[in-house]
């Protein structure tokens, strides 16, 4: 698709003028052009091959605390004028503002794509899925089912607002995942392998996708020998990387400004207070290269930034989008995100992680007499405002006398995110971000990254005897 099919300055000016014709404080137009391809394999067959283009625009008008929104997937001038009139409908505001001259916002960030998605035919991408399937099945005869999925997503956005802001961004996401199912008797276990990020097809040259298939098969097969998890309170060591999802769900959401403004978050009104162990520094950073949560400008057109949320245990800042920042008279932190032009932005995390500490990860394991080592977390649930959580452990091991021993199954971690943050006793020097499949759901889906170094939680309730699906 050529971006020239999207609108330019002159159309934007006419739309914003129409949107403000009944009054209002600020008007904005958001235009998006997106092309996605999804291929999926099951039963050793590529069954679903779907490609689509989504193009559309949304117009938002602020009147005090009210915002109105209208969107369309027809970018013709006539349709956009109708959308602007719809967005202006609720206007009762006496406030009259002028549309200022646009100036194109600059970002120093580059997220270059070396090998565009078009560099490979759909057939080759399908063949890759078949190869992954074969590789996982070849690994062990107990691998009975394999699901593999490839997806690419190119999204171009343009934003103009009546204060003269004009921002453009392009985001390219690729992901490849393999789920292997291994069976012995009635017992079925699952292993996952994945790679992805804000990259083009060069990802496939840099990492060997077949290694992910073997990894998925290996972890499924290993879990067949797992014994039921011990229950009760015990020390837990969380492996670096994906474990950060627990803190994303159980602490990160409570730092989003909408929960703060509503007063429902445990962190409301606590900036400057010690809310976590002094070993903990929690960061949200949308400027990192190659990460799923990165961008040059957020979906309000605000430049992305590195935000220190918690510094050495002290709460420093929340995550703000434009609407919540206006409401609280604060500066946005570039965290306004939307699933597509069909939605209003809201404050969302980007790439959120706990910074590296000083401990040697091996020393962390050695410090535990008897406990649980969590290599991979499965699904989970968290109450976003209070931070209570339940997460299943999809790959875990017993720690006995400072060493990893038997694999365990059916474990879950139960606790409260902010409480766990206070209790963390050791933080490794091995910060790692997830392997590139993070998706956050808060009414709208947005891509994110999570991360952490190896951590020691001295006490947490390990519960449940339920099988992991």
């Amino acid at each position: 698709m050529d971006t020239d099919r999207m609108i330019g300055d002159e159309v934007a000016r006419r739309v914003l003028t129409a949107a403000l014709s009944h009054g209002g404080d600020l008007a904005e137009i958001y235009v998006e052009d997106r092309c996605t391809t999804n291929l999926s394999l099951e039963d050793s067959k590529v069954e679903e091959a779907v490609r689509g283009t989504d193009r559309g625009a949304g117009v938002r008008v602020f009147y005090g605390s009210l915002s109105t929104y209208a969107h369309t997937d027809d970018l013709s001038g006539r349709s956009l004028q109708a959308v602007a009139r719809n967005a202006a409908l609720a206007a009762q505001g006496a406030n009259r503002v002028q549309v200022l001259d646009f100036s194109r916002a600059q970002s120093g960030l580059e997220f270059p794509i070396e090998k565009p998605f078009e560099a490979m035919e759909a057939q080759e991408k399908s063949q890759l899925l078949r190869d992954l399937d074969q590789e996982a099945r070849r690994f062990d005869p107990r691998v009975v089912q394999v699901q593999a999925r490839y997806s690419e997503d190119r999204r171009r956005i343009r934003i103009w607002n009546s204060e003269g802001r004009h921002a453009e961004d392009e985001r390219n996401l690729i992901q490849l995942s393999v789920i292997a199912m291994a069976q012995e008797g009635d017992l079925v276990q699952r292993g996952v392998g994945m790679i992805g990020g804000q990259l083009g097809l060069e990802l496939l040259d840099r990492v060997d996708p077949l290694a992910e298939a073997r990894e998925a098969a290996a972890s499924a097969v290993k879990m067949l020998d797992a014994r039921p998890a011990p229950a009760g309170e015990m020390p837990v060591v969380m492996n670096n990387g994906w474990g950060g999802v627990l803190f994303h769900e159980a602490c990160g959401h409570a730092l989003e400004a909408d929960f703060i403004n509503q007063g429902v978050s445990v962190f409301t009104g606590r900036v400057g207070e010690q809310v976590a162990s002094p070993l903990i520094t929690l960061v949200d950073d949308a400027t990192l290269p190659e990460r799923r949560g990165s961008y040059r400008f957020d979906d309000d057109g605000t430049p992305s930034q590195h935000t220190l949320l918690i510094e050495n245990g002290v709460l420093r800042e929340y995550m703000w989008d434009m609407a919540q920042a206006r409401r609280a008279n604060r500066h946005p932190t570039g965290n306004g995100r939307r699933q597509s032009f069909r939605y209003l932005p809201m404050p969302r995390m980007t790439n959120t992680f706990i910074k590296a500490g000083e401990s040697d990860p091996e020393d962390i394991v050695r410090s535990v007499q008897r406990g649980l080592y969590v290599k991979m977390l499965g699904g989970g649930q968290a109450d976003t405002a209070r931070g209570d959580f339940v997460f299943s452990v999809s790959e875990g091991y017993l720690i006995e006398d400072g060493r990893l021993t038997a694999p365990i199954r059916g474990a879950s971690l139960i606790g409260n995110g902010p409480e766990v943050l206070k209790e963390i006793e050791m933080v490794g020097h091995d910060l790692e971000l997830d392997k590139g499949l993070g998706q956050c759901s808060k009414g709208q889906q947005v891509p994110v990254s999570v991360g952490q170094p190896t951590l020691l939680i001295p006490r947490i309730t390990v519960g449940g005897t339920s099988e992991i699906p």
Binding site: R5, L39, E42, S44, K45, V46, E47, E48, A49, V50, R51, G52, T53, D54, R55, G56, S65, L66, S67, T68, Y69, A70, H71, T72, D73, D74, L75, S79, A82, V83, N86, A87, L89, A90, E121, A122, Q123, K125, S126, R130, R342, L344, G379, G380, Q381, V390, S466, E467, P469
Partner: protein, 450 residues
């Protein structure tokens, strides 16, 4: 209608002569209003349309879509669907429905409200503000609302395939809901109120507000009970949530993929004699009613479970061909952006003539559940069911006090066998699919509390 001709022409071109093709256009208009504390927070209006092309050749299937109707983009979408078909693997059961059945001609399903388009945004704002007002005025202990919103849609669907099928269908829907928050010395409780209708004029703001307020207030002071086995009475909200898991297990896709606790049970008794489950794509005023499904197959009334025996599954064309049977007209399309998949149209548990109070008075000790929360404790393969629940405790056939913070657990197959009674208050709660349940009594559930 112009779009009908367009889908016919595109289907013909996409088939390329030796393949099969199906083209769908969906055009929808939606509005939404969200309010809080008497103020409008958000209003949105959307007009969206798009076209999706499914191409099948030699059992290989590809799908492409776009929202851009300019001829070059449409050409690209057709060739994209064909290229994707070439890159997928052949499956002998992949095919479009043939034309062996005649479309039953337009019985009026009463699913379109011609007056909806005449309603102004001001009407809709006033409506949802009145619902919130009704909740706050219902009882002084109701202190706030959340998620208070109004939604409506008008959707037109145009479908054609290269075997000569062409049809269109239009429908409307109006939904309003809110959560009321009640507070007193004992703490805080919340309740959901919901109103859904095809016709704007049938929706009553006061009912939505009062339902939410009534549920919130009655849960004030709720506490967990002791862990025990006891009967559970599910109100239609709790019943519909339970049935949505059963409905998923009843799709042929779940069964063929080994993801259903009803695998291998066709023809067997899977429930008590009180359980009669029907899927009716032609239910008058049904939220999921249409003359034909997402592949152009005529919809029908299908008896799934009769007197407790599993008689039939929900089929689309692909899953039916795999089982050597006929589609039941259950191919659904949630948007033009995706492939059809088998799902319910209007699926419901048949009511009886017994009143709800008769059901309750028949219970010696048990829990009347008015709200459930899915906490991830549902396993579709082995049927394990565990949800968070709140409601009212029943002793000697009377409500004796609120219960919150408990779990209700069982196995879905056992629960179906343990349905001891159903009432006369069938209600559809079309949150995702259009599913309806009357109040139902299930014996022998595990209530997890203190």
């Amino acid at each position: 209608m112009e779009y009908l001709r367009l889908v016919e022409e595109l289907a013909e071109r996409a088939s390329g002569g030796d393949g099969e093709a199906e083209v769908i256009i969906m055009h929808s208009r939606t509005t939404m209003v969200r309010v809080n504390a008497g103020e409008v927070l958000e209003m949105s209006a959307a007009d969206s349309k798009g076209v999706g092309v499914r191409a099948i050749k030699g059992g290989r299937m590809g799908y492409a879509y776009t929202s851009d109707f300019e001829p070059p983009t449409l050409d690209l979408t057709l060739s994209s669907a064909a290229a994707l078909a070439d890159s997928s693997d052949p499956d002998e059961f992949r095919a479009l429905p043939g034309m062996e059945r005649d479309l039953v001609e337009n019985q009026d399903l009463e699913v379109f409200d011609p007056e909806l388009s005449e309603r102004s945004p001001e009407d809709k704002v006033a409506f949802i503000l009145a619902a919130e007002r009704a909740a706050l005025d219902h009882d002084p202990r109701v202190v706030a609302t959340s998620y208070c919103s109004y939604h409506d849609h008008t959707t037109r669907m145009f479908l054609a395939n290269s075997h000569g099928f062409a049809g269109s269908h239009e429908s409307t829907g109006v939904v309003a809901y809110l959560r009321a928050v009640a507070r007193d010395d004992s703490g805080q409780a919340a309740g959901l109120g919901l109103g859904c209708s095809i016709f704007y004029r049938d929706l009553e703001a006061e009912l939505v507000g009062c339902e939410a307020a009534g549920k919130a207030v009655q849960l004030l002071g709720g506490r967990p009970v002791k862990t025990q086995r006891a009967p559970v009475i599910m109100d239609p909200f709790a019943g519909v949530e339970f049935l949505s898991f059963v409905a998923n297990a009843l799709t042929a896709e779940s069964i063929q993929r080994g993801r259903s606790f009803l695998m291998g049970k066709l023809g067997e008794k899977i429930a008590s004699a009180r359980v009669n489950l029907v899927d009716d794509g032609r239910l008058v005023r049904g939220f999921g009613s249409a003359p034909f499904d997402g592949e152009g197959v005529p919809t029908a009334r299908t008896s799934l479970v009769a007197g407790g025996a599993l008689e039939q599954l929900l089929y689309d064309t692909y899953t039916a061909r795999r089982d050597g049977t006929a589609s039941t007209g259950n191919a659904q399309r949630s948007s033009y952006r995706g492939l059809p998949y088998p799902a319910p149209t209007n699926l419901y548990l048949l009511p009886s003539s017994r009143r709800v109070d008769e059901l309750i008075s028949s219970v010696d000790t048990g829990l009347y559940v008015t709200s459930t929360m899915n906490t991830g404790g549902i396993n579709p393969v082995n049927g394990d069911y565990s949800v968070g629940a709140s409601g009212l405790w029943v002793e000697k056939g009377e409500f004796v006090g609120p219960v919150t913070g408990v779990t209700v657990a069982g196995n879905m197959l056992e629960m179906l066998h343990n349905v001891a009674d159903v009432a006369d208050d069938l209600r559809f709660i079309p949150i995702s699919d259009s599913i309806g349940a009357p109040t139902m009594l299930v014996q022998g559930m595990t209530i997890g509390g203190t």
